[in-house]
């Protein structure tokens, strides 16, 4: 151990970053574990809360879009159509909000100990992922209830979960870094999340969007994620170009968030 020399020099810390990331991997899991533990200890409903929220939203959307607006669902029971989109959307919005606030929420840690800062926002996403898997149970119950069998495409579902993860992480990293410098960004996050719910095809199928607007619509990275989910779970058809564009946007979000975070990371402890 003693022959390992760590050199700290202005501007040279970059080189150790990825080695450190590996060294601190346990911290990543511990922070996630802490958040999960605290979350389910403090709330009375605990697990129920993770289940109830998407379920009630789904009921409302089914009534509003399915029953009142009578939007088409391509032969899929409307509650299932909504819920397959609700799952990734809830995951994204929770993960994005939690990650955005993670740095200022843990300011005491940032100013007192060193670790690769990226661990902080990323580990909070794990909590949302746990919530996601819990609410996934509802989907199974719904499918059993409506006797709707999933297609074999479901095996590709992990890819779309990863895609949602990357999108949330990119957006989360970006806003988390901005939050350190500009505190009023935290007011923007709930707004984006609320707006995004209606901008993304959660309550309706993206086929409802007129053909000429499709491409523009696909600039929303969550369109690709949600369409992917519906393709994987319900076997609905995909619009190739807009799907690829949307996936490209997800990856671009991730890359940009990562780049910005890494660029500003060094100054966090001085600014926060």
């Amino acid at each position: 151990m003693n022959d390992k020399v760590l050199v700290i020099e202005a501007g040279k810390t970059e080189q150790q970053y990825f080695r450190d990331l590996w060294r601190y991997r346990e911290l990543f899991w511990f922070l996630a574990w802490r958040d999960i533990l605290v979350r389910y200890k403090q709330t009375v409903f605990g697990v129920l809360w993770a289940v109830l929220r998407p379920f009630l939203t789904m009921v409302v959307f089914t009534v509003v879009f399915g029953k009142i607006a009578k939007l088409p669902s391509q032969g899929v029971p409307y509650p299932i159509l909504v819920f397959t989109a609700m799952l990734p959307w809830q995951f994204f919005s929770n993960a994005f909000s939690e990650a955005s606030n993670s740095l200022i929420g843990n300011a005491n840690l940032l100013t007192k100990v060193y670790f690769p800062r990226i661990i902080m926002p990323t580990s909070t996403i794990i909590v949302s992922l746990v919530d996601f898997f819990i609410s996934f149970a509802i989907l199974i119950v719904l499918m059993v209830f409506y006797k709707y069998a999933p297609s074999w495409n479901i095996l590709t579902l992990p890819i779309f979960i990863l895609l949602a993860f990357l999108t949330a992480m990119g957006a989360g990293l970006y806003v988390a870094a901005l939050n350190v410098k500009y505190r009023d960004f935290r007011y923007i996050v709930p707004f984006v999340v609320q707006f995004g719910l209606y901008l993304s095809p959660v309550g309706f199928s993206s086929n409802v969007v007129p053909e000429q607007w499709r491409l523009l619509y696909s600039f929303n990275p969550m369109v690709g994620v949600i369409d992917g989910f519906r393709w994987a779970v319900l076997g609905q058809s995909l619009n190739g170009t807009s799907f690829l564009l949307s996936i490209g946007m997800s990856i671009a979000f991730f890359m940009f968030g990562l780049w910005y975070f890494r660029k500003t990371e060094k100054t966090f402890a001085d600014l926060i």
């Binding site: 700290i8 505190r183 960004f185």
Partner: protein
């Protein structure tokens, strides 16, 4: 045998200070508003308000294996910044540090402790946050619990712990870190004396028996004396002295008593007469010796010097006394209070002040020179500070601090029964 574990070379850390806002963070609203307003008045809001501030300048020292090196200096000397740079929380602006081995920074006891989690959960969480692996924590677990004396409460959330238990547990985790280098900031400043003694003992062990290197910051000369053989003295970001404990600590103590005599550059100087200003101030006790610590009811002499003779005759000097919270608590002047004026050729002024009715704390003086008719020549803000270190005015064995009273009044109590 004595391998160099920490090598610091020409280390510098520069912060950029913005003068317009107190807050380090901004809001996008403010930034936009400023950008827009600077569109038509670009000269006012600009880069002029950003100033470089070197919190550390050209620091070099070494620490060997098994050594405990103390870092001392007054508030703002750069001690904490040095620890932050060493523990990689913030990057240096200049220079180079070589660290041989893993570093654990203990800048605060209980970093990352979560109130809702149990003692057991917190031990693991805190251990990992401080840089241990899960297995290492598990191996040390029993030792940690035994040291903290919390066996019975190990599965109780720490929010139900007493402060003492909480501190013991937090220190225990940190003290059992299996690292080669430990960086410790003022952790012993809290807790009861039993706990302090125990921590000091453990810290001594860490250095002497376990062969680890410790960098230790403290205001408490007692703990520095007990723990450290080598001491680094910092002042205003610069390294003043490094060497044997005895030598450096006595130098530091001598420095703190004389510190106020040195010609401190004024922070804020309101423009007045460009050729005349106060340039030296000294506080003396009744024996006429320079002093920065006074007891309640002591008499103080303020000595002031100006750089040249005043261009005109008949002027007065005022003082304003501030407490450490920045409140203006007293005022005095040669005129009108005493109807004394100074004359053209005067360059050395003395004010006998007291008995001081002040409670323990730090106080500072601002001086103003005025010509007859209230024109201000010179204003020297925050020119000198002093400490009231004893406030047992009525000899009761009970010290009164500024938390209890700002100043003391003579009092007589009696019962008057009808």
């Amino acid at each position: 045998m004595s391998e160099t574990m920490i090598k610091v070379e020409n280390l510098g850390k520069c912060y950029q200070i913005r003068h317009e806002g107190r807050e380090k963070y901004k809001t996008i609203r403010e930034t936009l508003a400023r950008k827009i307003s600077s569109l038509w008045s670009p000269s006012q809001e600009g880069k002029a308000s950003i100033e470089d501030f070197w919190a550390l300048k050209d620091i070099s020292f070494e620490a060997k294996k098994g050594q405990c090196v103390g870092i001392i200096g007054r508030n703002g000397a750069g001690k904490s910044t040095l620890l932050k740079v060493l523990s990689r929380i913030t990057e240096p602006t200049k220079g180079r540090i070589e660290l041989r081995g893993r570093v654990a920074s203990l800048l605060e006891v209980g970093t990352g402790f979560h109130q809702e989690l149990t003692g057991r959960e917190n031990i693991f969480l805190n251990g990992v946050i401080l840089g241990m692996t899960r297995n290492e924590v598990a191996r040390k677990f029993d030792e940690i619990v035994a040291f903290a004396e919390v066996e019975k409460f190990i599965d109780t959330p720490v929010k139900r712990y007493s402060t003492g238990m909480y501190m013991r547990l937090a220190f225990a985790v940190a003290a059992h870190l299996d690292v080669e280098i430990m960086v410790v900031d003022e952790v012993l400043a809290v807790g009861d004396s039993n706990f302090k003694a125990k921590c000091l003992g453990k810290m001594k062990d860490i250095g002497n028996n376990e062969g680890r290197t410790v960098l230790f910051v403290s205001h408490d000369m007692g703990s520095i004396r007990q723990l450290c053989r080598q001491v680094v003295l910092l002042s205003k970001g610069e390294l003043i002295k490094v060497g044997e404990m005895q030598e450096v600590t006595s130098y530091y103590e001598a420095m703190s008593t004389h510190e106020n005599n040195e010609n401190v550059p004024t922070k804020i100087r309101k423009p007045g007469n460009p050729n005349y200003h106060l340039n030296k101030v000294e506080l003396r006790n009744t024996q006429g010796l320079p002093c920065s610590k006074f007891a309640v009811n002591e008499i103080m002499e303020i000595h002031l010097w100006s750089n040249t003779q005043a261009p005109v005759g008949r002027y007065t000097i005022e003082f304003v006394l501030y407490n450490s919270k920045g409140y203006r608590i007293s005022w005095g002047a040669a005129n009108p209070i005493q109807n004394t004026y100074f004359d053209k050729e005067d360059t050395h002024y003395v004010c006998k002040l007291g008995p001081l009715p002040l409670t323990t704390g730090i106080y500072s003086f601002t001086f103003v020179v005025r010509i007859w008719g209230m024109e201000r020549w010179d204003m020297w803000e925050d020119a000198i500070s002093f400490e009231i270190n004893q406030c047992d005015m009525f000899k009761t064995g009970f010290e009164i601090t500024s938390g209890e009273a700002e100043f003391m009044i003579n009092q007589q109590w009696e019962a008057r029964n009808v």
